[in-house]
Symmetry: C2
Subunit: 207 residues, 2 copies
């Protein structure tokens, strides 16, 4: 067998990510995590220093996994619309891949008492925000885009994602007519979302 130490650590991370995104931070107990991960409760504190440390470790893992994903788009020498479309494809794919983490982030972000957690989350997500803001403002500056309420447009973009992921009972009702928890982000819905985003930006930003 391979490294079984890391197996346990990773098992905790995986189980915790799933439970946090399902139940939220408070309702997820360390005992439940330990039980589902088939691990002693103390291991959780041994590896991560505590419940909040585990939560932050999940965020850090997610940061590390997507650190390089972002930088590459804005450097390319392509049109502003192409940048936008490229950003959308990458963003939606990434959203489908890591929707559990994204759900958990938006769940806890707004809770006032979680200052440290909230800072981490906002810091992570703001990178996406800054990047797309730059694409749009550059496009407006070089005359490719029409002048729009860029903030509202961006709010609609991120908001659509948040609605699909975090308000999934409503989104399921909208897309499938039922509220069962069955996977909503099918390949079909993902493709529709990409098309929707591209159409949205095209409609708003075309001169």
């Amino acid at each position: 067998m391979g490294d079984e130490k890391l197996d346990k650590r990773n098992s905790i991370l995986e189980v915790a990510e799933e439970l946090f995104s399902e139940l939220g931070f408070d309702a997820t107990t360390t005992r439940l995590i330990a039980k589902k991960a088939d691990v002693n409760i103390a291991m959780l504190n041994y590896y991560f220093g505590g419940k909040e440390g585990l939560y932050l470790a999940i965020l850090e893992k997610h940061i590390a996994a997507n650190h390089s994903r972002l930088q590459t788009i804005n450097s390319d020498n392509i049109s502003s619309f192409d940048k936008l479309n490229k950003f959308i494809d990458g963003y939606v794919d990434h959203m489908q891949r890591s929707c559990a983490v994204q759900k958990l982030m938006y769940m806890e972000m707004s809770i006032s008492i979680r200052n440290r957690i909230s800072e981490h989350i906002v810091g992570m997500l703001s990178k996406n925000l800054i990047e797309i803001k730059k694409i749009i403002s550059d496009g407006v500056a070089n005359g490719s885009f029409a002048q729009v309420d860029a903030e509202m447009l961006i709010a609609s973009m991120f908001g659509t994602k948040v609605y699909l992921i975090n308000a999934s009972p409503m989104a399921s009702l909208l897309f499938k007519g039922s509220t069962d928890a069955q996977e909503l982000l099918t390949d079909d819905v993902v493709q529709r979302l990409k098309d929707h985003y591209k159409k949205m930006f095209k409609l708003y930003l075309s001169k």
Copy 2:
């Protein structure tokens, strides 16, 4: 003095609504509610049967307050676009008025263990969803609207709201450049949101 009995009950409701929307259901303790409302903890159980009962009472109050608000629009004999604009104005005004309740609803909706609460919330919010879905499908049927991905369009509408209210640290960063908790939904932002919504539907639905 007037009815001081109702004062206490209402005080609990008001304080609880504020705390639930700030801290979420789990992190809001009955002790904190009682302390802030200057009321004995037992009163909370006396009037509402418990923490969950109090939460549901807040929802019920909100349902009652907005029961009549909805029915009137679709009956009018006006164009589909006018219906849409009328809906938007009413919806955004309502959103500004009761943003605390809306925040708390979307916070707890997706938590799997809150079956009863989740049902209540989805039931409430689905009325808005059904109504706007009807406006759009009617408009498409009578030729006023172009054929679009109506589900995604609706997801963007509600999603924009959810982003502004529930992801307020991000929205504050977007609209004000800082994450302080100061009121985001100013009259200015509300007006921009209305304009944004109207433009969105116009762009998507114009033939």
